[in-house]
Amino acid sequence: MIRKLFSLNRPLVPSFLKKMDVRLMANYPLLWSLRVHLVLWYTLILALFTAGYFFLKPDDPRQDSEVYFPISVMVILALISTVVWLIFLLRFNVFKRFGHYKSWHACVSFTAYFISALAIFSLPFLPALIEDYRATQAFKPQEIVEEVNAMNVQLAHLTYDSLITEWYRDTVLVNDTLAEKGRSLDSESYTELEYSMDSAGYRKVVNRIYCGKRIIQGDSFQVLARNSFVFFEVPDYQFIEVDGRLEAISGVEFLRPEPLYFKIHKEHPNINLEEASNQYFEWMRKYSNPEYGLQYVNGVIESSSRYREAFDANTPFYLAQYRIQAVESGIENIVDRQFFISVYNKDVMLRFWLYPSFFLAILVWMFRHSTTKIFFLSLLVGFIVSVLVGVFTALFNLSLSESLVFQLMIWGGFLSLSFLSSNGMRNAIRGIGLNLTFLTVFFIPLLVHVIYWDSQPEWPYSYSIYSQAQAESMARAEWIGAVLVPIFLYFIAFPLYRNWYSSPEA
């Protein structure tokens, strides 16, 4: 019999999977009907094809990444895969056949849908992951940091005669009458706009926070009077300055202006310039973005104040000779590829992956546990309610919290509709209420989170602490939502769906 069933016409499915398909069908009809094994298999095949293509495709990591186009293609492919999967899911439904189906079966179904959706929605990330891998294999982060440091040193030696050696000076007058609002010791809220010039035009009038920050961050300072300071900063010889995130993954730090300054001036008398030049050009060839030509040089000089600080304004030929922007651009492109999906983008990328997968799983579950008509009616009602909430919020000029409380009340309304006594009938209103309650239950902790943070008085601590606390609270709300969904499904939603679906029609 198994041999006969191999005649199932499924392209690219190996015999072991066909065998498994038959076994699942005859022994675990629920699992078989969910088609997780086929989704995973076809996703794997698609992933292998994609990976093969992107591994073999000629690509120079120093050039601008064109990954957004393949990502878009993969998104379309994932959507097509989802539609095909949904068509298959129309076919065999244990719940709609009134088979042996309990609450835990409903949870198993949901988990299977989530796993399938995760697999499908992992496809769009593949091109970026491969690009990341290839860029990391070609240029190790540690190697980049070390060689950027070395290049900066060599460049300083090669342009030594044109280097500015004088320290930058900044005289400030501390005046606490300046508005404090919006300022903190946190560096992220520090901007150059937070001072004003005194009437003479040569001193910055700053508050104590600004002053304190400059004391911490400056290379040196001199106290002129109780409320007057001169801050000194060394000239910046970081000709090539790239993404600081490299430090975190490489474990090597970039040479900062101050140590660089002293190193250059200490080493220079003993430097063999010809050797330094050869060495630099070797690195230059290694890192230059091949798309850059010399014609960009003038533009660099015009646009970069940093170079003006480091060079004499009359020596632009150095920049042309050493192709600094081409090198910097090449390294930036490499780093961009390495960091598209990284620890820094982790939270964003995870959400890009998990949210669509989670909601697709919820939608598929809804689709499989309600009638087609009620499913689409629910989506329509959900859309109309969202528009009405927006209109209502705008018309009555509701604050964020008020609008969210209003949305919570609407959810409560959906929940009430789910429990609504329908005189033992499978009516549309109850079905829509059930669907929309289940669809949005994940958002409830998030709504509470936003309402809570929106109602907080002005945050007394630094912005980073604030944003970290907020991010942690949001992550907590998301976790609670994610746990709430299966619990809600097991104890409330499924029994209601079971009762609703089996009720007679009017």
Binding site: M1, A26, R97, H100, S502, P504, A506
Partner: protein, 372 residues
Amino acid sequence: MTSIDNPVRRSLKHGDESLAIRKLLDLSYESKKGEFQQKAIELSRNFRANKNDSWKEEAALLSDQICSEPFTPFNPQKLIKAVGISKKYKGSDFKLNPVNLELNQGEVFGLVGENGNGKTTLLRILAGQLKLDEGSLSFPSLGAVDGFSIRGRVAFIPQRIPRWYGFLRDNLVFSAALSGHYGHENSLMVDFMLERLNLAPYANLTWDQISSGYRTRFELARILLFKPGLLILDEPLANLDINAQQTILSDLRDLAISKRSPMGIILSSQQLHEVEKVADAVIFIKNGGCFYQSQLDEINESVIELETPASREQLEEIFTSDTTRIRYNGSYFSVSSSSLSATQILEELIKHKISIQYFRDITQSTKRFFNA
């Protein structure tokens, strides 16, 4: 415990080979023994393959073996009890008037009536698909705790069978697995059903590749694998040829009294005579009401159908009594009499040398109401 007769030998003796195989398959199913079932399936395949007649002897021996096994007597239980159930659709003048109905396991109930009189409505109410406005409906022996469980035990095959996807066999395997037949037992049950309903040649075909008659058979096989307590069929004979109609009806009759999984069957049909042959009771629905129920209503006149070249005047000369009425529907006569039995009417016709092309006693049949 008791032993049973051997219907296979009986059928073989009279040359009813197809019936013998079906009976053998039924016996093997009743025995609840996998090896008997497997053997019966093989013999059925041999029969279909028309290889030689050796299968007959094997079938007879196998049936002897099965019949010698002890069988637990069938103890029917009440399946469904409907009291005064009625239904009215919003925005429609149609109303299903109160209907009372009781059905036990092993019984077949026929539902007849002209189109648009409420047969499907009544069936859908009994299947739990439509809400009833008044009355009560209970399923005493289904052991179901809620509506979902009841819907799982009450199978409804609509007149227009919903489209299914994939191969016929896959669907049967899935259905068998859903009802708890796993592994080898699953393939055994699927093979059994394919043979029993003569679907084996179509096992690897899809919906588009089989005729509507075989779609009905498939649906029946699929439903039977679910082992429903109550099977409700709306016009199951509509897409079948005359032979298939008779086969399906006798199969339904046999399946209803299956000792392994007895069930009650309610079916609607326009094939009055065929249904009446297998039904324990027949309800005639007219204008949304229960016009006649064969179990309950008393019959006080004989009715016959007659096709003859004789004229109405000739017949009226024979049946002069006031208690006898003659009607003609353009095709044949119906003669009803409260004083003559059907046999006496026939005797009168023969006595007066009336040429008879077709004669049928419909006294016990609901057909008489169609002629009314």
